[in-house]
Subunit: 468 residues, 2 copies
């Protein structure tokens, strides 16, 4: 008996079970990824239903009870639970089985829905977002139930099929089926950590406000030869509106925009500087070397605790090949505003509308449509679930996680925290180079196995700490 097997045998039963079944876990995950469950594409509706059916079957196979596929007005929600730990806390595990579109197949090294292991990574659409991350919890549950015949706490699984299209029907589903979510704590694993040996717990997300600004002028497109010079061009007006929204360094020019932004104290900023990514890390991730942004802040601060306004698209004039010589009748800009702590989406929406209404000339009309909004979220470190997650990362990764702020928005966290009032912990297992939403999306398998170990320990730690 060598030292390694000696250590292995000293592991607690669920962790030892994980070690013995790694290959099968990956095999099952590949089956899961093989479904092109692209929620935004009606052509994949049957694949998405098929994926939900596979998932429900899998929940039953690992020993969950009350497994059900709930129909919604969109894609189904898959639920299951294990509620036999009387007197113990209940944890809600949230995940989503739908995926982003694959994008251009030509940009992938192997087909997106033919999951392939190369080196220590598993490649495929959904490998990390979110099938692989969701799977860490399912395999943790299995590891407990197959070794102890029980979980140390009560568990509910809430696995939706519409996260990539804005969780459209989830709030309505939960309003009708409140019991599917009632819990002492929730865990969401749909984000990255700092690196394979640098676990991190996400403690804040930016909010989001998505606006479509449309400038309309003449009733129809006009010939730019015949009318150019005598008709104000809505697309030109739109460019002036967009150009006026911020200065050259990205400082937003809308009066009152920064009024409510929470100013971080010196201690918090020092911690961010010490534990977070450097400017160089962030620029390298972006594939550039040019530092840019609001003066007086690091790139990490600019992308997490400071708001940002991005024009993500402009639609105006002929969009195909070739040239159409027109003064376009209308033009639109899609604005993506990311909100920092204490900013209120409705408040910012109002300020944006007032600002653009003032700068548009009388020859044009401007309309603003709010497509989507979600407030910023942060999760207090002191809560029991966060402390349990810290202990779990430490146990599985051999080091304590840092706290990470991220600039993106996960609307379901807001839904869980604010609407359902369930303390939520954001426990990610993707890596910065997992290419979420991009080609060659991948799951780092050593991190996946540590993720299963983290979840195993999290359930154990929650039993010890309760949910206070």
């Amino acid at each position: 008996m060598d030292a390694r097997s000696c250590c292995s045998t000293r592991k607690p039963p669920p962790e030892a079970y994980l070690d013995r079944h790694r290959q099968r876990f990956v095999r099952e995950l590949r089956e899961f990824i093989r479904f092109p469950s692209v929620s935004s594409d009606p052509q994949h509706a049957a694949d998405t239903r098929g994926c939900a059916a596979w998932l429900a079957h899998h929940l039953r196979a690992i020993g969950l009870e009350g497994v059900r596929i709930w129909r919604t007005a969109g894609h189904p929600v898959v639920c299951g639970h294990w509620l036999r730990a009387a007197g113990r806390p209940t944890v809600l595990i949230y995940g989503h089985y739908d995926v982003q579109p694959a994008g251009s197949p030509g940009e992938w090294s192997t087909p997106p829905f033919e999951p392939t292991v190369r080196g220590d990574r598993l490649y495929g659409r959904g490998a990390a977002d979110d099938k692989g991350q969701m799977f860490t919890h399912l395999k943790a549950i299995e590891s407990w139930l197959r070794t102890s015949g029980a979980l140390p706490i009560n568990v509910k699984c809430l696995l939706e099929g519409e996260e990539e299209v804005g969780s459209t029907h989830l709030a309505a589903f939960l309003a009708e089926h409140r019991e599917a979510a009632v819990a002492d704590a929730a865990v969401v694993s749909d984000m990255r950590i700092r690196g394979p040996d640098a676990p991190s717990l996400t403690e804040s997300l930016r909010g989001a406000l998505s606006l479509e600004v449309t400038v309309s002028g003449p009733q129809t497109d006009l010939h730019s030869g015949n009318f150019g010079g005598a008709i104000e061009n809505p697309l030109q007006v739109l460019c002036a509106v967009v150009a006026g929204l911020q200065d050259r360094r990205g400082r937003i020019a809308i009066p009152g925009f920064y009024d409510r932004v929470r100013q971080l104290g010196a201690h918090a900023r020092a911690e961010m500087a010490a534990t977070g990514p450097s400017d160089r890390d962030i620029l390298a991730d972006a594939g550039t070397t040019w530092s840019w942004g609001e003066p007086g802040y690091t790139a990490y601060e600019r992308t997490t605790v400071r708001p940002a306004l991005t024009v993500t698209a402009i639609r105006g004039g002929h969009q195909g090949d070739g040239v159409s010589a027109i003064v376009p009748a209308r033009a639109s800009a899609m604005l993506d505003v990311r909100l920092a702590a204490d900013q209120d989406p409705a408040d910012i929406d109002r300020l944006c509308r007032r600002f653009v209404a003032r700068i548009v000339p009388p020859s044009a009309t401007i309309s603003v449509r709010t497509l989507f909004s979600a407030p910023p979220v942060s999760t207090p470190r002191a809560r029991a679930a966060v402390q349990a997650a810290r202990a779990a990362y430490r146990a599985a990764f051999g080091r304590a996680p840092t706290f990470l702020r991220i600039g993106g928005t996960i609307p379901v966290v807001h839904l869980l925290e604010r609407k359902l009032r369930i303390p939520t912990v954001m426990m990610g297992f993707a890596l910065p180079d997992s290419n979420l939403h991009g080609p060659d999306e991948n799951l780092h398998l050593p991190t996946f196995f540590r993720g299963v170990g983290t979840s195993i320990h999290f359930l154990r730690a929650m039993a010890r700490r309760g949910a206070s």
Copy 2:
């Protein structure tokens, strides 16, 4: 014998022939329009060839000689001539048998390629642009040859199939077949007149410079949640570039841009004010009531003798339905610069490139692609062909034409005037509401018949005046 038939019998033989054959002329024109000769659409390549064959057959039928369909690298050129008027001048008649795409069929009252007479108009794609206008000359030739057995002068017809795609292969064709075009004067009928009872001779066209300006930043699209605030956005930069190109009244901010623009004298401006469309006319044509443009000029001047810069399209970010939360890696603007007399496209191209290069920040790269350019053109009133055209309009319309300046660009006029050095006259028969390039394109039939009469008299007048 009533007064009407009395007058009719007093008409010269070609004009009397026109009167007798109006219905057949319209029937033949409808056959011609029935071909969907959409030059920009490869799916209509066979229709375009079929249209050329029909046209060649028709040229032979009306008595032209040497009729040939010349292959080019694109759509064919149809030529024919009648050169038996020894010692008399030769006139080149230019026209194009290709048409714009029909656009949305739902916007048409009757199908675009099922030409239909309603009231006194013939509706169909190409009815005015340019099949109907070209047909005035063919029917004039027929009217002469069927009544006198001869034309009063020599005529060459040059009928191309690529005008709507920029006359791509015409210059190369003419370099190889110079004899197809050598003439003492050329006539181009592919523009509008002021109204059914207000004939006009077009005496100037603006030039055009079509540029694509592309701003590139990060190597790939970046997630606007994760990176927004720390990465300079190429689409935002592009908006600032476009916004900076001109002031709010359309005065172009590029240094040196106006240096060479010819200033019209008080006399010419007074004539434009007296004979041209009013601000109200132009705004009504545009479907708006808001006057806009370079201060100190009328709308007619702003759209004809002053340059203009129109951003005709912006392409940046996700262009389909829905929202993609990205900082786009690149964004492009299509700029359409219309040039006034004495501006040189190459010169303006250089100024534009220098200007945008200076205002782009170091984090982005900017590239400018020239898609197309044509110098402004004007045709002196004193030339014989113009005087012959004036006499012809007066004879057919019962009133002298005014001189009209137009803001659009017809590259073939530049080719004929500057490259082939053939004095050209622009003799239009479309109306302001002929909907060229739009749905329900139409030909006003009384104006068409007057157009045939104008062409009959033009050939007669050219015989009298020569081509000096």
